[in-house]
Symmetry: C2
Subunit: 384 residues, 2 copies
């Protein structure tokens, strides 16, 4: 019988993250201070984020970064995740391709997000932070952050895109199970939220607005730091655990990928699986193709502009060099749940400019059909 | 670093199920024909169930039964499931005990139910069946059955306890993703459902009623067989894959359990983890304690009567010898979602009579508190 799943033993698990910034032929442009338009130092960023994350954010020299022991210990709760050969999907598609998928749904809270929530909360705690805050769309990141905060003894406050909170009420129950406070965004609890509601009383939220609220809370609350689930370089760094495992698992399967495909919202999932393989394109002359699949309803990679833009709606974040649809982008309510962030992250944006990867945009109904096919063949219902 | 998870390689996976009936000091009493009160043969049962399942149901001689190759192949999609040492829970409880849990949540559809749904659908298909039907409470069994039916090319119709369908609308979406028809029970689509609604127009359903509807559909539809997710002997047989894996995993951990504890609805989950270990009590003089945890609101093990009773509300099933609260038992709506079945299964009932295991009933709020503690320590939110 042919082997279906490839799993690493705990002793085979990676103990370092891979930092693609060290290997990029052109480094990402620096984030800028919105007032002075001067490049920011890690100390500047550390007003909002945990300091260690800020150092990682701007680290363009160290290829490998040690995973702290307490984070490794929590990774072992659920990692490695399975690398699975999708024999049934191959059969249904009638393709000669060998299709593998990395199944991050076996993680606590059901997504890859916990891989970065754990180190962000760990570093925050180490630095004397007592409270963390963040935004979430459909709730995966908010749930992961709530869990990680509870693991490391931090209070958590989550701003969830209001329409998502109403559409998926169980998601806030999950966050509250771990002791987090959940607020629908835009809310009346911040200046940024009030401004949005004043201008548009029926605004049902966007990730950009929720980020504004969380950043404002962090800036105005002593002992509180902001955490982000995607887009930023240090998040992609933490998520590299996915691709590093996948590399070892593909080796066990006796294969090396011709293509790596991942869905793309802010880039945490994509970067996680792609960057460790991409280093072999950069360093070892491999020719793997890297494809980021984005929703047609939020096509920043395929139809956005590369420019400096804010990471949030209210303009509280640094200016980031990225492919963007504009920080005032507001998805249709039905689409606001996830993957509809206006910007693409600094590393990914540079990699696209340099031709190391490319985006494709996929229409909604095609995505649903593919999801149903995957469910019926491989037994897992994916988030569309 | 101490090992957290114990996982079997695909080549270490069990290839046979364990049939505890062969080893029981006293065999279960036979199921009876409701009219004649004569013991039923497998041929009698085969009017409702797939024939191979009926043979397994009454098989009191073969200790080991081969898992068919196509079922093994599907098991490899997700098995083995992890056996996890709950270090954090131990710490929170301040206990010297070593606590391990078998994590069946990594299965397709998120529960152990798929372990029996796959063989039941496989056998049905082999025997020329075109349609299968069943009942479900919260939806785990219905979802697993819908998936398994789609895997083996069968049509599926699921009667879901109406209050559960309304409380958890995503669950029927899951079943429909796999092509199943889902009907809230009691429904107007069967005589049994109509009778219940006529007597009580606001009846929001019970597992007993939903079973009546599904059995009636199977009896009145050519090419349609009924499948059941728990209670029956062949279901416990299929679920023995859980305990057989656990045994090998405990061996890797260098341990043998003093206690095996599992939640109890109809007995599929409990029997799955417990029976393979129980054979060593029966055959090898081990002294493991086996505890079935049932809800205080449906205390059939601790306060039910041992007698012949119907498996369903309308009295369409055979008479089964079991601990029961009476086949007209109707849980409060808020409790109807799961684990609230009136009867206990023939094997388990006999084992309790013979002192090989015992039940405990747990109040709801205590269960919720334990669930939150488990979530915060081990990162998994269990169904309460």
């Amino acid at each position: 019988m042919k082997q279906k799943k490839f799993i690493l033993e705990e002793k085979e698990m990676p103990t370092q993250w891979y930092n693609i910034q060290a290997d990029m032929p052109n480094k990402p442009l620096p984030p800028l201070h919105p007032g002075t338009r001067q490049p920011l130092t890690w100390e500047d960023l550390a007003h909002i984020f945990p300091a260690e994350c800020c150092k990682q954010e701007l680290n363009t020299t160290d290829r490998w970064i040690d995973i702290p022991e307490p984070v490794l210990e929590k990774y072992r709760f659920y990692r490695s995740t399975p690398m699975v050969r999708a024999y049934e999907l191959e059969k249904a598609l009638g393709t000669p391709a060998h299709i593998y998928f990395k199944n991050e749904s076996t993680n606590p809270l059901g997504s890859h997000k916990v891989n970065s929530a754990l180190p962000q909360c760990y570093y925050a705690k180490q630095e004397g932070t007592t409270n963390v805050t963040t935004e979430t769309g459909a709730g995966q990141w908010g749930a992961a952050l709530s869990y990680a905060a509870s693991v490391f003894g931090l209070e958590a406050a989550v701003y969830q895109v209001k329409i998502s909170m109403l559409q998926k009420p169980y998601r806030s129950s999950i966050m509250r199970t771990f002791g987090a406070t959940v607020e629908g965004s835009p809310s009346m609890s911040t200046r940024a939220g009030k401004d949005v509601i004043t201008k548009n009383p029926t605004h049902m939220g966007s990730l950009g607005t929720a980020i504004s609220e969380a950043v404002e809370l962090a800036m105005t609350t002593p002992g509180c730091k902001y955490t982000l689930g995607s887009v930023l370089n240090h998040v992609a760094l933490h998520q590299s655990i996915i691709g590093l495992e996948a590399e070892k698992q593909m080796e066990k399967a006796g294969e090396y990928p011709d293509m790596v495909i991942a869905c793309f919202g802010g880039g945490s999932n994509f970067g996680g699986i792609a960057f460790p393989f991409m280093r072999h394109n950069i360093l070892d002359g491999k020719k793997t193709e890297f494809i980021a699949a984005e929703p047609e309803s939020c096509p920043k990679l395929t139809r956005g502009k590369f420019e400096y833009d804010f990471g949030d709606e209210a303009g509280l974040t640094p200016l980031l060099p990225m492919y963007t649809l504009g920080h005032d982008f507001r998805p249709a309510n039905i689409h606001a749940g996830g993957l509809r962030y206006h910007g693409a992250g600094m590393i990914v944006s540079q990699l696209i400019k340099d031709g190391l990867m490319h985006g494709v945009d996929i229409p909604q109904l095609e995505t649903f059909e593919a999801g149903v096919l995957f469910a019926r063949t491989e037994g897992i219902i994916p988030a569309p």
